[in-house]
C-alpha cells in the first residue's frame, strides 16, 4: 500500500529514488569538501564533530551506536554474513561415537540477516552523523549559537518526544516481527524441511522450487489442494463476517426494543462467549457436536433420529456447523458494537418512515443497514481479513477434519490456509511449504484489503477527524 500511494504522489518512483540518491551523494561530497577537520574526522569517528563542538551528549550517542555496531559485526556478524550465500558448507560429522555439529544453516540465515540489517543501520547512522556535523558547522559559520547539551536532553521530552517514546516499540517490532518475517520469506526460497533439519543437516537455497510446487497440479503437487483450501477460506470468511454482522445487529435491535426489560441481563448472558477463553468453550462445543457427543446422544435417546448426525465427518455439514458455531462466538461481539452505534441513528428518520407506513423490516433494510454499513465499513474489512486467519475456531472445532484423499499435504476439508500452515509447521516440520503458504496468505489478505480499502468512503481523510 505504501508503494501504491507513493506512485500516486510521484510519477515515477524509480526515477525519484535515484534522483534522491544522487542528490544525497552530492551532499555527502559537499560535506567533505566544505567540511572543517572536525566534520572530516566524523566520516570515520561518528559524533566527533559534535563532541568537539561541545555537544558531547549527541556525539557520545552517535559514537556509542558506532562502537556497538562494529562490535556486533566483528564479534560474529560478518562471520554469518559471509556464509549467507551458501547457508553453510560444513556438515555434521561423527568423532568416535560423539557428534560434532557443523554449520547451522538456521542460525546462519538468522544472524546473517541480522548482520545485514546492522550494516544498513551503520550506513544510516553514518549519514545521520554527517548531517548533524554539517548542520552544526553551518550554524557556527552563520554566527549563530549551537544548542546546548541541556537543550538536546530537554528536546527528548519535547520536540523529539516522538523519538523517545517510539524507540522501544519500533525496535521491538523490528526484532520480533520484521526480522522473523524477512527470515520466513527467505525460508520460502530454501529447502528447509524435515529432511534438512539443522543442526544435523544443512539446508540451502533452491530458488523458486517451492512456489513451482505450490502451483503444480499433478497428483503430488500442491496446486489443487491450495486452490480448494483458498476457496473455502474466502467463502468461510465471507459467511463468518456477514452472517454474524447482520444477526448481531438484529439481536442488538431486539434487545434495544422499547418495552424489553432486563436489557443488561440479556447482554451479559450473550457476552459470556467473549469472556470465557475459547480453548475452553470451543473445545467443549466440539465434543458436544461429535458423532458420539451429547447432542447426538440426546437426539438418539429421544428417538428423534436413528443414526447420529455426522456434524464433523460430513464435509458440507462440518462447514455449516462451523459457521453456525461461529455465530455463537460472533453475535455478542457485534451486538455490543451495534448497541452503541444504533443510538446514534437519528430517531426522526424512523419517525418519518413510520408515518409513511414502513414495516420494521423495511426500516431495517433501508435505514439501519445502510447507516451501519457506512459507519462500520473499515471495521467489516478488518473483520473479514481477521476471519481469513481465524485459527481458533477451525482448529479447536475440527482441526481441519474431515480429511480426504483428494487433498495433499495433510489438509482437510475445513482447513483454512492458516490451519494448514500450522499443520505443516507443527506436524510435518515442512517449513519451506509453510513459508510459501504464509506468503500466499499475506498476498490474499493484502490484495483484498487494497481493493476494498480504495472503495470505502469513510477512510479517505484521516486528518478530518481531528
Amino acid at each position: 500500500m505504501a508503494n501504491e500511494s507513493r506512485s500516486q504522489t510521484k510519477k515515477n518512483p524509480v526515477a525519484g529514488f535515484f534522483g534522491a540518491l544522487g542528490k544525497d551523494l552530492k551532499e555527502i561530497g559537499l560535506t567533505f569538501k566544505e567540511g572543517d577537520w572536525k566534520t572530516r574526522i566524523s566520516f570515520v569517528i561518528f559524533g566527533f564533530g559534535s563532541i568537539f563542538r561541545g555537544l558531547w551528549l549527541r556525539g557520545a550517542g552517535l559514537l556509542a551506536v558506532e562502537a556497538f555496531l562494529i562490535w556486533f559485526e566483528c564479534s560474529f556478524g560478518f562471520e554469518y554474513l559471509s556464509k549467507l550465500g551458501t547457508l553453510g558448507t560444513v556438515a555434521t560429522t561423527k568423532k568416535g561415537r560423539t557428534t560434532v555439529y557443523g554449520d547451522n544453516s538456521f542460525l546462519i540465515l538468522l544472524f546473517g540477516l541480522l548482520a545485514l540489517f546492522a550494516v544498513l543501520a551503520f550506513i544510516y547512522v553514518w549519514r545521520l552523523n554527517l548531517k548533524v556535523s554539517r548542520r552544526e558547522q553551518l550554524t557556527l559559520k552563520a554566527g549563530k549559537k549551537l544548542p546546548r547539551n541541556r537543550d538536546d536532553w530537554k528536546s527528548l521530552f519535547d520536540g523529539h518526544f516522538d523519538k523517545t517514546i517510539m524507540a522501544l516499540p519500533v525496535t521491538g517490532v523490528f526484532v520480533f516481527t520484521v526480522l522473523p518475517i524477512v527470515f520466513m520469506i527467505c525460508v520460502a526460497f530454501t529447502n528447509y524441511d524435515a529432511n534438512h533439519q539443522p543442526p544435523s543437516n544443512l539446508f540451502t537455497w533452491v530458488g523458486l522450487e517451492n512456489f513451482k510446487n505450490l502451483f503444480s497440479f499433478g497428483t503430488a503437487g500442491f496446486g489443487g489442494t491450495f486452490m480448494t483450501v483458498l476457496l473455502w477460506t474466502l467463502i468461510w470468511a465471507l459467511f463468518a463476517t456477514f452472517i454474524d454482522y447482520v444477526l448481531g445487529i438484529a439481536v442488538a435491535i431486539l434487545i434495544n426494543m422499547k418495552g424489553i426489560r432486563f436489557k443488561k441481563l440479556w447482554r451479559k448472558i450473550l457476552v459470556m462467549t467473549i469472556a470465557v477463553p475459547q480453548f475452553v468453550s470451543l473445545l467443549y462445543v466440539s465434543k458436544l457436536f461429535a458423532s458420539d457427543g451429547l447432542i447426538n446422544g440426546y437426539l438418539l435417546k429421544w428417538g428423534w433420529i436413528d443414526t447420529a448426525i455426522p456434524f464433523w465427518t460430513n464435509p458440507t455439514l462440518a462447514k455449516i456447523t462451523i459457521i453456525v458455531v461461529n455465530i455463537w462466538i460472533g453475535i455478542p461481539y457485534l451486538m455490543l458494537i451495534a448497541t452503541g452505534l444504533l443510538m446514534n441513528i437519528p430517531e426522526d428518520l424512523y419517525e418519518s418512515a413510520r408515518i409513511d407506513g414502513a414495516s420494521p423490516w423495511q426500516m431495517f433494510r433501508h435505514i439501519t443497514m445502510p447507516y451501519m454499513l457506512f459507519v462500520t465499513g473499515p471495521f467489516l474489512l478488518t473483520q473479514y481479513t481477521g476471519n481469513l486467519n481465524n485459527f481458533n475456531v477451525i482448529f479447536l472445532l475440527t482441526q481441519g477434519a474431515p480429511k480426504t484423499g483428494n487433498l495433499v499435504g495433510g489438509a482437510g476439508r475445513t482447513d483454512l490456509l492458516i490451519t494448514w500452515l500450522y499443520k505443516m509447521t507443527i506436524n510435518d516440520t515442512n517449513y519451506r511449504m509453510a513459508a510459501v503458504i504464509g506468503i500466499m496468505v499475506f498476498i490474499v489478505t493484502a490484495a483484498i484489503s487494497l481493493v476494498v480499502y480504495q472503495m470505502l468512503p469513510s477512510v479517505k481523510d484521516e486528518e478530518g477527524f481531528q
Binding site: 561518528f46 458423532s291 484423499g405
Partner: protein, 443 residues
C-alpha cells in the same frame, strides 16, 4: 573533567574503529578471531553442563565422568516410576555421581515432534512409538545404540522388538515394550460372541451401544492385511525410503475397503480408539494402555479377545490382522563422550528385564524382554493375553514414512463419507490413487 571523558570516549572509538577495519579489510586478524567468534553462540546453546565437562575430561582419569544434567522425556503416567528407577540407577553407579537427572512428562507423539524441531533443546533420553523411528533418524535426532550393548539388547529382547529399533542394519533405540498392538475390549453382557465382526456389530446395534474402531493408518491395516494385502517400505541405512511394496489396488484390497465402509455405515459405528473419549460402547478396538480405563467403565462385564473375523463381500471369511510394534527408548546425539556413556548405561538400565517387569507391575506395559514376557504375572494379564493371541495374526511393524500416516487418515475420512455411496469402480479408482500416493513416498 570534560576533556578526560572526551579522551576516554575517543580512545574507545579508535579502538573500536580500528578493530572494525582490521577484520573488515585485513586478512590476518580475521582467522584468529573467527574460531572464538563462532564458538560463542554455539556454546550458549549447550546446557551449562556440556560446557563444564570438557574441562573435567582434561584432568580426568577413567573413573571421572564429569558432571552434567540428563533430561528424560517419558509419558505422563510413568514419570514417577521413571524417577524411582533413575534413583536406583544412580545409587548403583556412584561413578556417575556428577550427573543430575530431570524427568519431564512429554507424550510420545510430542516428544518426537519436539526432538525434530530442535534437537539441541530436546531430551537426552526419550521414549517414542516405533512409527517415529525413521523420522527421528533422518532428522538426526537419534544416536546409534552403543555397539558394545547391541549383543545384549539383541539377546534379551524379542526379535520383533529388536527389529523395530533398526533402520537398515543399525540399531537406533532400546526396545522398552512389545505391546504396541490392538485387540478387542468388549462388554460381556452385550456381546455374546466376540469372534465375528458381524455378530459384534449386530449385538451393538440391538443394544443401542457403540463399537469404536479407528480407521486411520495404524488401525486400517487390520482390514487390509487381514484380506492378505501387503504394505511395507524398504529403507537404506540413512533412513531414506527406497521402495514401497504394496498391493492395495487389487481384489483383496477392495474386499478390505468395502468391509471398512460397511462397518462405517453401521449405526453402531463410532470412529476412534481412545477409551477415555468413547461414550456408551460395548466394543472398542484399542491397546493395552487403555486397559484401566475400559475396566473402570465396563466393570464386571469387562472382557478382552483377539480381533474378530469378518465375512468379506466375496463371501470368504477373513481374520482381522494389524500391526505389532514396540515402544522404544532413544538417545539423542551427544557432543560429549562421557555423557553419552552415562546415557547409554541409563537407557540400557531403563529397558532391562528388572525395570520392564517393574514397569509392568506399575502401569501394565507389556515387556519386550524375553524373560519378563515369560514371567507369571505377565502371562496372567488378561489384556496382554488377548494381545498375544492377536499377535499370531499380525505383521511386525516396519518403517513407514510420515506421509503414510497423513495419507491414511485421509482415506479414513473418505471411508466415513464419500465412499459410502461410491460404486465398485469408484472404489477401485480410489484404491489405485491411494496405492500410487503410497508408492510416491519412496524415491
Amino acid at each position: 573533567m570534560k576533556k578526560k571523558i572526551l579522551a576516554v570516549l575517543l580512545a574507545t572509538a579508535m579502538v573500536g574503529t580500528m578493530a572494525g577495519c582490521g577484520s573488515e579489510g585485513g586478512e590476518t586478524p580475521a582467522p584468529a578471531e573467527t574460531p572464538a567468534a563462532t564458538e560463542t553462540p554455539a556454546a550458549t546453546e549447550e546446557t551449562p553442563a556440556a560446557t563444564e565437562t570438557p574441562a573435567a575430561t582434561d584432568t580426568a582419569d577413567t573413573a571421572d565422568f564429569g558432571s552434567g544434567e540428563i533430561k528424560v522425556w517419558v509419558a505422563e503416567n510413568v514419570v514417577d516410576f521413571t524417577k524411582e528407577q533413575i534413583d536406583n540407577f544412580s545409587a548403583a553407579h556412584p561413578e556417575y555421581s556428577g550427573y543430575t537427572y530431570v524427568v519431564e512428562a512429554v507424550g510420545e507423539g510430542d516428544a518426537a515432534g519436539n526432538m525434530i524441531t530442535d534437537v539441541t533443546a530436546g531430551a537426552d533420553i526419550f521414549g517414542f512409538a516405533q512409527d517415529q523411528l525413521t523420522r527421528l533418524v533422518t532428522a538426526g535426532a537419534l544416536e546409534e545404540v552403543n555397539p558394545d550393548y547391541v549383543p545384549t539388547v539383541e539377546a534379551e529382547n524379542a526379535a520383533g522388538a529388536v527389529a523395530a529399533g533398526k533402520v537398515g542394519d543399525t540399531l537406533y533405540a532400546y526396545p522398552m515394550t512389545a505391546d504396541n498392538g490392538y485387540f478387542l475390549y468388549y462388554d460381556k453382557s452385550v456381546i455374546s460372541d466376540p469372534s465375528t465382526l458381524e455378530g459384534i456389530v449386530a449385538d451393538c446395534e440391538a443394544a443401542g451401544k457403540s463399537i469404536y474402531v479407528d480407521l486411520t493408518g495404524w488401525y486400517q491395516v487390520a482390514f487390509f492385511f487381514g484380506t492378505g494385502c501387503t504394505l511395507t517400505y524398504d529403507t537404506d541405512d540413512s533412513g531414506a525410503f527406497t521402495k514401497c511394496n504394496v498391493d492395495y489396488a487389487s481384489d483383496k484390497g477392495l474386499v478390505a475397503l468395502k468391509e471398512m465402509i460397511e462397518l462405517a455405515s453401521s449405526t453402531a459405528f463410532q470412529p476412534g480408539s481412545s477409551a477415555g473419549d468413547a461414550v456408551n460402547y460395548a466394543a472398542i478396538i484399542d491397546g493395552t494402555w487403555d486397559a484401566g480405563t475400559v475396566k473402570d467403565v465396563l466393570g464386571d462385564n469387562y472382557a478382552c479377545a483377539k480381533l474378530p473375523t469378518f465375512t468379506g463381500s466375496d463371501g470368504n471369511t477373513y481374520q482381522m490382522s494389524g500391526f505389532n510394534g514396540c515402544k522404544l527408548l532413544g538417545i539423542k546425539p551427544q557432543e560429549d563422550a562421557n555423557k553419552l556413556q552415562v546415557c547409554d548405561d541409563l537407557a540400557l538400565y531403563l529397558t532391562s528385564e528388572e525395570v520392564q517387569l517393574a514397569r509392568f507391575e506399575a502401569v501394565q506395559w507389556g515387556p519386550s524382554n524375553l524373560n519378563a514376557q515369560a514371567s507369571e504375572a505377565v502371562q496372567a494379564n488378561e489384556a496382554l493375553a488377548a494381545l498375544s493371541e492377536q499377535f499370531a495374526f499380525t505383521v511386525p511393524q516396519g518403517n513407514y514414512p510420515g506421509d503414510y500416516w497423513t495419507r491414511a487418515e485421509s482415506l479414513a475420512g473418505d471411508v466415513q463419507d464419500s465412499f459410502k455411496s461410491a460404486s465398485d469402480d469408484d472404489l477401485k479408482a480410489a484404491l489405485e490413487a491411494y496405492q500410487a500416493d503410497l508408492q510416491s513416498y519412496a524415491k
